[in-house]
């Protein structure tokens, strides 16, 4: 579908969409899931402050959700909003790839990050 991961996201004057709903699927409190959450939190605070909402789904608690949202790997980050749905798997250590993956349009001042 859309969202070629290779292309750099285009900066627009109007900035980010108003609301970001991000779901992080994990399986218990593993080092990977803890790392993924803190990485995600950091990135969102930096680029989407005030616009985002993170929902953590623990598949050990709600195993049935794995099927419904087509989760195979954990941690998986799903961008629920804005549409379309996008997925990133892994501990989200690479900020740049995460931004590309969930298609965050960088403000000019942030382009040199990392």
């Amino acid at each position: 579908m859309a969202g070629q991961s290779g292309e750099p996201p285009q900066a627009q004057e109007h900035g980010q969409p108003e609301r970001w709903l991000l779901k992080l699927y994990v399986a218990g409190q593993t080092p990977k899931s803890v790392a993924a959450f803190s990485n995600l939190h950091k990135i969102c605070e930096k680029h989407l402050k005030g616009l985002y909402q993170i929902e953590v789904v623990d598949l050990l608690v709600n195993p049935k959700l794995a099927k419904g949202d087509q989760i195979i790997a954990v941690p998986t980050l799903v961008r629920q909003l804005p549409a379309p749905i996008k997925k990133i798997i892994g501990d989200l250590a690479d900020e740049e790839r995460v931004l590309v993956g969930i298609d965050v349009r960088l403000a000019p001042s942030h382009t040199e990050t990392k």
Partner: protein, 497 residues
């Protein structure tokens, strides 16, 4: 057959496969089923689950990586499986795993715990004993980090083993190795290879057990069929020469012919070959044989490779043979197909299947020549031997017709199939007093005294009649000369009606 080993086995319920594997797949282990696209991997997997549910009371999980639940249901509906019903009953769980590389970004470490959770969730929900993963190799295409996938696959197989699940894993055939991504490295217990070959425009499916650790298994390539009832493997080694030989005699349906073979007809469970040139009445003779069976109240089965059912019925009515009542009663069964519709092996597999379903006492194959023509010749005799053995084992009396090609030695068959037959009758044209007529003689009939006469074979409005001992001085055939000179003209008096 009782396996001499201690390995516990889980029957697949697939016809023939359990015989070939000596009891089924290894219980609590993973079996790899590999084959090229369209070789029947998915169907085999699904049959394993459906039979498990229906016949052995073992619920199963199907994890599909390639087809959606809906597609799967539709695809196997043609085999008569109602997956939706089984799902509603809580005996089958299907989980469609969708992986699209372009939609997934990877960054950093991850594992496939999500897959384990889904599988575990489905297994626990229905108490599954059987699992099919079709085709897990999709992971390799969908995810970039091969190291993680391989490590996770190892963990998956351990996980399946720890839970005591009997699993089938399907894999696409690869170049130079069994599967494209080397799945055979992980599954060391049992590997089954499916093959779909096309020779002379005819396709034949074959199955081979490449490996079965700790178990006896057949090592041949077995033809298998994907027919209306699903997969059926034709096990070749399961029959041999240890069938019983009943001494009961059954009528050929033609009283005069019975007299020629000791007055009582043929042995039950024997195989009879009727060969002859075109238009000599082979089919008519075969159908009288079937009619006699119907009159005794025995189920009869006719495999026709030349004419349609209606055509046979119509033509037979012209010689006073009304087959319709027997067909209507369900005693007589017709199975008419073109020989070119399947390869020889597939035909034989399908014949096995039909014989099993109809459960006849008497079978006619009309003619075997067409089957032979449609295949490469090397395996023909062995395949026919298997069919004959199978029929003997079931004590089914069988009549095969064989079309002799003109210009060839009449007393020979294309593939020397006569040696596997117990009785052999020959029908041939003879010129007699300016007319072409037909003669019948018995070339051999094992275990009974038989006539050496050559009798005139007459198709009349009232059925088949045999004339007096036939003679024709113009006949120069060497085989004829061996016979004593017959009384001239005697046959015409009686035969011409």
């Amino acid at each position: 057959m009782t396996p001499k080993n201690f390995l516990k086995k889980t029957p697949t319920g697939i016809e023939g496969l359990d015989e070939v594997t000596n009891g089924g797949l290894p219980t609590g282990r993973t079996t790899l089923v590999c084959g090229s696209a369209g070789s029947g991997k998915t169907v085999l997997g699904m049959e394993f689950l459906v039979h498990g549910i229906v016949e052995y009371g073992e619920p199963g999980v199907f994890m599909a990586f390639e087809e959606t639940e809906k597609d799967l249901s539709q695809n196997v509906a043609s085999f008569g499986y109602d997956l939706e019903k089984l799902q509603e009953e809580g005996k089958l769980a299907i989980d469609y795993v969708f992986i699209e590389r372009s939609e997934i970004e990877e960054t950093g470490e991850y594992d496939l715990e999500g897959l384990f959770i889904r599988l575990g969730c489905a297994v626990d929900a229905i108490g599954a004993k059987r699992v099919v993963l079709d085709t897990i190799e999709v992971l390799f295409a969908g995810l970039k980090n091969q190291q993680i996938i391989r490590a996770e696959l190892r963990r998956l197989f351990r996980w399946l083993k720890d839970r005591g699940l009997t699993a089938i894993l399907t894999g696409e055939r690869g170049e130079g190795q069994l599967t494209r991504y080397g799945l055979e490295e992980y599954v060391a217990d049992c590997v089954i290879l499916l093959d779909h070959r096309v020779t002379e425009q005819l396709s034949t499916r074959r199955l081979r057990i490449v490996k079965y650790r700790g178990s006896l298994h057949g090592t041949d390539e077995y033809p298998f069929l994907m027919g209306e009832d699903g997969i059926s493997v034709l096990p070749i080694t399961s029959v041999g020469l240890n069938h019983t030989a009943p001494s009961e005699r059954i009528s050929s349906g033609v009283a005069d012919l019975d007299k020629m073979v000791g007055g009582k007809g043929f042995f039950r469970g024997s195989s009879i070959l009727v060969s002859g040139t075109a238009g000599t009445g082979k089919t008519s003779l075969a159908l009288y044989f079937l009619k006699a069976a119907c009159e005794r109240g025995e189920r009869a089965l006719y495999f026709g490779f030349e004419e349609s059912r209606d055509q046979v019925v119509r033509n037979m009515s012209s010689i006073g043979l009304n087959l319709k009542p027997w067909l209507d009663k369900g005693i007589l069964h017709f199975h008419n197909v073109r020989p070119s519709s399947l390869g020889l092996e597939a035909h034989l597999a399908s014949m096995h299947q039909i014989i099993k379903r109809v459960n006849p006492k008497v079978v006619v194959v009309d003619p075997i020549t067409n089957l032979i023509a449609g295949s490469d010749r090397s395996g023909v005799k062995s395949m026919l031997t298997r069919l004959v053995d199978y029929l003997k084992m079931k004590q089914i009396t069988a009549m095969f017709t064989h079309l002799s090609t003109t210009g060839r030695q009449l007393e020979s068959t294309d593939e020397n199939v006569s040696s596997i037959m117990d009785s052999w009758m020959l029908l041939r044209d003879v010129e007699h007093e300016g007319n072409r007529s037909c003669a019948l003689y018995v070339l051999k009939s094992r275990g009974m005294a038989h006539s050496h006469e050559m009798r005139q074979f007459l198709l009349t409005d009232n059925g088949i009649q045999l004339g007096e001992n036939f003679a024709d001085e113009q006949e120069t055939d060497r085989a004829r000369r061996k016979k004593h000179t017959a009384r001239k003209g005697a046959s015409s008096a009686k035969g011409a009606r």
